[in-house]
Amino acid sequence: MSTIDSSIEVGETGAGITDTVWTEKGSWLDRVPRAVSMIVLFAAFLAIWQGVTLLGVVSPIIMPTPAEVGRDIVTVAINLLSGDYMLAALWITAKEVFFGFIIATVVGFSLGVLVGETTFGERAVMPYLVAIDTMPKIAFAPLFVAWLGFDIASKVALAAFIATFPIIVGTAAGLHAADSNARMLFKTMGASRWQMLIKLKLPTGLPHFFTGLKIGSVGVMAGAITGEFLGGGKGFGELIRVAASMLDTPRVFSLILYLSLLGLGLFAFVNWVQQHFVFWHKARVTTAE
């Protein structure tokens, strides 16, 4: 009986289709696998790019064809794999990113705990952090160069400076994430403030902390490259700057691609660590309700 009833209902709304399965009716576009649609979109993008440059809409000096960029990607790959000067440059930038990220994580976490956990931090320190955060941090680059020289230290400082703030915010927000029920429960168990922090607030706040780390991992790349643009040195940013000044645009594009692989790697690493430490967050079914 019930199946007949439902088929009639569907028939009314579904224009005579006497089938209870509705989900099949989606557009054919929705059924294309994700990888295929991504590849198709990318191919279309390349085709338009190639077409625009071949038709001479844009000058080939400022906009290379995808084919040229492709050839240069191979050239750079050979240079990198043979351990030539580009690998040395990438290594320098990677070091800047790595140390910048470590410093940002340590400083950001510490300040985040100070701001999120103590009244002094929240009342006295937080306003200054907000004030500094609203400043365009890139503008500090010349100062860092003046203080720390043209070596990697100034780039590490700028990278760390930019990446620290999202980590502070993530940590502080995480410390406030534990709800009042959980706090009350801990109080009834006679938990000390330290235990409350270690056993409740920090684990509860881990997802927020990792969100801060992810935003920071993007910022740290921007900081390192900007530092190299403005402060010289021998890193990848310098290679890009030199290539751009010689109007070697295919080289600029391929260098950016390899740089983005570095950024992607860092992001993926943070993501991997998060999956490892916050294993419960993905598989979380509502426990409270």
Partner: protein, 268 residues
């Protein structure tokens, strides 16, 4: 049987008083709110008491004072012969939400009170006791499951275990099953009765539901707001173990009607 006489507290069987509140009052000076006024309570060993009242009648304040989370403005609060001056391990508490921590397995959640009070080693030593409690509440085999995989009712069973692990003198229950659907709630209430009887636990329940208070309790305290105080103490003279079928008896209906009339009067 005289219906009115049945509502009087039974004074036939004098038992050991576990928890006693004498003339407890609470005023919040800042807001000039008189939350509790002269509340007297005696919880006998193995008895189940409830407090029922509208929102703002001081139930939560009363419970927080009994849990040692707040201090009374006046009066004495004595558990097992010692005044309650803060949270104590011989007070077990349970809330509306199970609040299990998703990074700990069910068993690790259950021994958390021990870990906080006595450290990790003591908690590890209590794993066997925790397993026995899981067995008691019907969660055998779930010790290594993470709470994300437990249903609402199962999570509350685990919360019961966590409350019992310190072997408390008194169980304070703050609407423990009100977040569950009604069928699970009835079932869990019967489970709660079974667990309390098995352990001869002294329980104190705060609830919004009159039938829940009546079916579970030996005594129901009806509270009235502004200022919060107990206006009537109703003894529930139903045999144990209670069953859900008792809800349909005339005596049960009369009790519920009587308590409701008291509450309606106060609300008006």
């Amino acid at each position: 049987m005289n219906a009115a006489a049945a509502f009087l507290p039974a004074e036939s069987k004098p038992r050991e008083v576990v928890y006693e509140l004498k003339s407890v009052s609470k005023t919040y000076a800042m807001r000039q709110i008189h939350a509790l006024d002269n509340v007297n309570l005696r919880l006998e060993r193995g008895s189940f008491s409830s407090v029922i009242g509208s929102s703002g009648c001081g139930k939560s304040t009363l419970l927080k004072i009994m849990a040692g989370l707040q201090s009374p403005s006046a009066g004495s609060v004595v558990l097992a012969g010692k005044p309650v001056l803060g949270p104590r391990r011989d007070i077990g508490m349970m809330f509306q939400h199970a609040t299990l921590f998703p990074w700990r397995t069910t068993l690790e959640n259950i021994v958390l009170p021990i870990e906080i009070r006595d450290g990790k080693q003591a908690a590890a030593a209590k794993h066997e006791a925790g397993r026995r409690l899981l067995d008691l509440v019907g969660l055998k085999g779930f010790e290594n499951v993470y709470p994300g995989e437990l249903s609402g009712g199962m999570a509350q069973r685990a919360a019961i275990c966590r409350m019992l692990i310190t072997e408390p003198e008194v169980l304070l229950l703050d609407e423990p099953f009100s977040a569950l659907d009604e069928l699970s709630r009835d079932f869990m209430n019967m489970e709660l009765q079974r667990i309390c009887m098995a352990r001869n636990a002294t329980a104190f329940l705060v609830t919004h539901s009159i039938p829940e208070a009546v079916i579970l309790s030996d005594v129901v305290h009806v509270m009235r707001p502004r200022p919060g105080r107990v206006v009537e103490t109703v003894a529930i003279d139903l045999p144990r173990p209670r069953t859900l079928e008792m809800i349909t008896t005339p005596y049960f209906g009369a009790l519920v009607a009587h308590i409701r009339s008291r509450l309606d009067k106060e609300a008006a």
